[in-house]
Amino acid sequence: MKVLMKGNEALAHAAVSAGCRHFFGYPITPQTEISAYMAKTMPKVGGTYLQAESEIAAINMVLGAAAAGVRAMTSSSSPGISLKAEGISYMAGSDLPALIVNVQRGGPGLGGIQPSQSDYWQATKATGHGDFQILVYAPSTVQEMMDMVGHAFDTAEKYRVPAMILADGMLGQMMEPVTLPEEKTAEASSKPWAACGHDNKREHNVINSLYLTPNKLEDLVLERYARYQKIQETEQMAEEYKMEDAEMMIVAYGASARVARGAIMQAREKGIKVGLVRPISLWPFPVDAVRSNGQKVKDILVVEMNMGQMVDDVRLAVECRTPVHFLGRTGGMIPSPIEVLKKIEELASKSK
């Protein structure tokens, strides 16, 4: 039988199942259950749970553990992720794979503690200073909170880039039935680059992001961007729902995709042909799915729990050939299916 689990617990459980044995955290709502689960579980499986003195320290502990070659992670919520920005930039600049979880809440500033998607820009455009990207995954169910973890670790290690799971307070707090993942016992991939002691058998490894010679730094960034290119070509993830005959496309991810799905069911009952493209990877943005579907429809509606941070990415994907509309709530408010339905009806009546 499936088991009922909170999104946060499911995520933490999956991390342990994926072979992660090093968790460094700092308390913040609404990611609390991840830390609590790790504090309870890590000692039992011979792992490390360490509550750091700050978000900054926590991400740097992750940096150290990742540099030493193990699967390491931290979790936080919006204001805490801002504090981690420095460390994430250093990890990106040092080509270190690790997992950062953001269970988003409303902002800016201390903001609120209710669910939000207001860190889309931060996650996909500028998680810190410098020319870099990180992998960003947006689960939409508790099962996906679980399934994304192993995938995020694997992909991060494959390309040597940090990965983020961008969840929100709703997904973190809610319970749904899940199927537990398989245990991964051994440390994932071999990491010949790790700084864990050369044992007098090789040259010393240096994990570093400082390059004072500009052309050398440029070369390194270019090499990294070649990897990003490959990621964009091969790692896009999106789910399509009722798009076969759709005349209108909703683009929504995470919690707001669930709301959109509810609205789509109701709109279909009223005869409006609307479907959903749900980005699962936010970076790389699923340009292919959005473009191919977006060019077939008359209207595109982006639904988010922010002020429209994904809208530009959708416009760029369809090269502005299809009008892109927006419906969002912010500050911790969740749009209701009724609100979305009304917007769908409004757009449908206009395009007739």
């Binding site: 009922l4 709502t29 749904e176 669930r258």
Partner: protein
């Protein structure tokens, strides 16, 4: 089956989230799609608490339901806050030992259950939440008592095993209350 969107609401410490979890497990045992969404934050620490449980044959979209069709309520502030939101034709189960107000709407099926009093009399005070759950499932004719027992078994942690029979008794007391 018609979707059940149940809102449980009351004070922190009354077992609101637990009652929701029992209801969710009933759905799970019946192979339904389910979701359970709690309120969280400062209100968990002594203020009002609530959670929404959706039970459906279809995949569940938004787990936050602005208009629940079932409302189980254990304090006055929550009663005042949510009673207007309940879908027309919906069911309301009220702990009438804690809330002395009557529902003024005439489009709802309302059950007044002095759950706290019943629990106290039977030496299971603190389990008014499950008394209400027992009443709810009995009235909704949604699940058998055996199913409810099984859900309770899933939800009561091993460390509190002695609570198991008390919870089952509470559910029965609720179901039998006329």
């Amino acid at each position: 089956m018609k979707d059940l969107n149940v809102l449980f609401a009351g004070f922190g410490g009354q077992g609101i989230l637990f009652a929701g979890k029992v209801a969710a497990y009933v759905g799970l045992l019946m192979n339904k799609e389910i979701s359970w969404l709690p309120s969280y934050g400062p209100e968990m620490r002594g203020g009002t608490a609530n959670c929404t449980v959706c039970i459906s044959d279809e995949e569940i979209g938004a787990p936050n339901v602005p208009n629940p069709n079932v409302f189980v309520v254990m304090n006055l502030p929550s009663f005042d806050k949510f009673i207007a939101d309940v879908e027309s034709g919906g069911t309301v189960v009220i702990d009438s030992s804690l809330i002395d107000k009557k529902v003024e709407r005439d489009d709802l099926n309302v059950f007044y259950v002095p759950a706290s009093e019943i629990a106290e009399k039977n030496n299971i005070s603190g389990l008014a939440n499950i008394v209400l759950v027992g009443k709810l499932f009995h009235e909704m004719k949604f699940a058998s008592m055996e199913m409810l027992d099984k859900a309770i078994e899933y939800c009561v942690p091993k460390s509190k095993e002695k609570m198991l029979d008390m919870n089952k008794q509470a559910a029965r007391l609720g179901a039998c209350f006329a």
